[in-house]
Symmetry: C2
Subunit: 343 residues, 2 copies
DNA sequence: ATCAGCCATGTAAAGGTTTACATCGTGGAT
DNA sequence: ATCCACGATGTAAACCTTTACATGGCTGAT
């Protein structure tokens, strides 16, 4: 029992006085084995403390029970919460997870493909919008994969994310309800689907409220704090100041808040600001940021569930799963100040 | 090449016109193979795109190239930065990493031990101060392990962390240099080594500055934000207010700042506050927190290096590696206010 | 009483490596 | 010229499973 080498299926077979084939069957297809025999086998397993050797099993089966999770940067705080959902769901189904990060280096991404050649991993969770291996990689040879947050550019890869349009709509509706009419949308890159969809929510909300197009201000950037700051400067250059900034993500929103703060304005008294994502910092900046929450753990769970389904069935039930995002009201939004309303 | 099934060592052998044994030798012990032969093999490998099947290799060798990383909570933002260091170092040596989290549930921890029985993992990185499996687990049967941040209670397990005493000393020295004399130490639990060591730094600093014991205030808590808040209330109850709060970690420091803010005090004008850890939020709260930085990526790298050394040599070179922590000066510390100095 | 068919079990091959041992050939020492 | 030693390579076993196929015994129908 506390033997140095772990028990093998043969040890179990000897003790249960059956063949190793029967032991294997008793474990994996118990209905094919007589009750009495199954009992003996189970006892023998208990006595020996037997655990099937995953290596031998994977070798024989030609597939493993590991899922590779690749992110551009596993240091990203967004990453860890997703990981919780992924891991829980995986383990519940007897899978483990492997971690890789590419730091946006295609070469590194390619290294991870080796995990599949050698059957070390059965499936892939992708965190980035682009394939971490060069796009030339034939998608045909990609392992079963699921994207998280964003659809994976260029692949027919299903993904799990949040309904960006609905989320943006909730943000803009809040601002409208507070009385804002001149609301700027500070985006990142138009090439990103998240941008496109969030902006659709913005436009839809303003349309519904009857806000004319000439009251709309749309800027682009790169989604960083710096980019938010820059957007504020740009708007002060032109003469067209909004009463509220609706930002494509929290980073941008934080940048906007810093930019406005640097010019001596108070949020939310002078301007209202909303973000998107609900990053961990959102609650710590002051004023705490009103934003749209990504249900991260749930996204991770769903993504893993979808991947496992794909692994067993071969075909995913759906190719896009969008979860409902929630509005998180904190302190960065209020009614527009009279000063700006006059304009 | 773009064959459906990946190339095996046999394919390589056939093309190189050698036996599979020679191929294996050419890869793993190239010095045992004639130059000309090695060349042929390498070409054949290039042609076929051969990658050794890790499953078969692990099965044969009886050990894998995976390291299991177990944390109580992988959603913890501290976790992800360590992960970066761990992963980089592991990959540099041909290892991959597996993730597990226990949520402080011993049962869950035990499940992860199966990874070792079945040779799915060769070594273990532990994130918690206590063994995630019941303590009764014979340490003799533990896989090669290394702790991160804290020594693992009860095991003879080497660990990599930060020099807590030196870090605390840096914090207290800063406060002393600003002119503080009455400095409260807000700790967590005395059972934690980090607490003990950080407090040693606190005492050593005050001793060196000749601050008499009756000017020292030490409180315990549980290291949470709430606990920091509570400590402030306690100190206002008694009549003994310090001019500075030196906190055992950033969570506590944030709690202290919130508590002082709630009572209408300004930091750092009325009170100075320091933390320890430099969590990501530390820079976002206002005022930004002056604290001691844990060099997380470096810790991860060192921990993995130590583990890999242990895996090859069998014995670790050292059993405790303490990295030098840095003081990060932000805005939560200034000279004591005159109002309090008078007391 | 015979036999078909079925259920439970056993036998053996296969999956891809690594490596101890065997073999073969060459060069140098006698 | 003979033999030894050594270096390079090949052969085959072992690692632990899973599963197709074979076997054997039993039930129930004829």
């Amino acid at each position: 029992m506390s033997n140095s080498t772990p028990a093998t299926i043969e040890d179990v077979a000897r003790i249960a006085e059956v063949s190793i084939a029967t032991v294997s069957r008793a474990i994996h297809t118990p209905e094919k084995v007589a009750n009495s025999t199954r009992l003996k086998v189970n006892q023998a397993i208990a006595v020996t403390g037997y655990t099937t050797n995953a290596m031998a099993r994977s070798l024989r089966l030609g597939r493993s029970n590991m899922i590779l999770v690749v992110a551009p940067d596993i240091g990203d705080p967004n990453f860890s919460n997703i990981l919780v959902g992924l891991e829980n769901e995986a383990r519940a189904h007897g899978y483990g997870i492997l971690i890789g990060h590419t730091q946006n280096d295609a070469q590194r991404g390619l290294e991870y493909l080796k995990f599949f050649n050698s059957n070390q991993a059965a499936g892939l969770i992708l965190f980035t919008g682009i394939l971490p291996f060069g796009h030339q990689t034939m998608t045909a040879r990609l392992p079963p994969s699921v994207g998280v947050f964003e659809p994976v550019f260029n692949g027919g890869i299903p993904y799990v994310g949040v309904d960006d349009t609905e989320g943006a709509r909730k943000a803009v509706d809040l601002l409208l309800a507070e009385g804002h009419r001149k609301i700027a949308f500070i985006g990142d890159s138009r090439t990103r689907l998240a941008y496109v969809r969030r902006r659709m929510g913005y436009d839809a909300g303003l349309d519904a409220a009857g806000v004319p197009p000439d009251l709309r201000i749309v800027l682009e950037g790169d989604g960083t704090i710096e980019s938010g700051r820059h957007a504020v400067e740009q708007l002060f250059m032109r003469d067209t100041l909004p009463t509220a900034f609706m930002c494509v993500n929290d980073q941008t929103a934080i940048g906007v808040m810093i930019g406005l703060g640097a010019r001596g304005y108070d949020i939310p008294r002078d301007f209202s600001v909303t973000g998107f994502d609900d990053v961990p910092q959102a609650v710590f900046i002051s004023p705490a940021l009103t934003t749209i929450r990504q249900p991260r753990t749930a996204i991770g769970k769903q993504a893993m569930a979808l991947l496992l389904e794909l692994l067993s069935d071969g075909r995913p039930a759906e190719t896009e799963i969008l979860l409902r995002p929630d509005l998180v009201v904190r302190n960065s939004v209020s009614a527009p100040s009279r000063q700006w309303l006059k304009r």
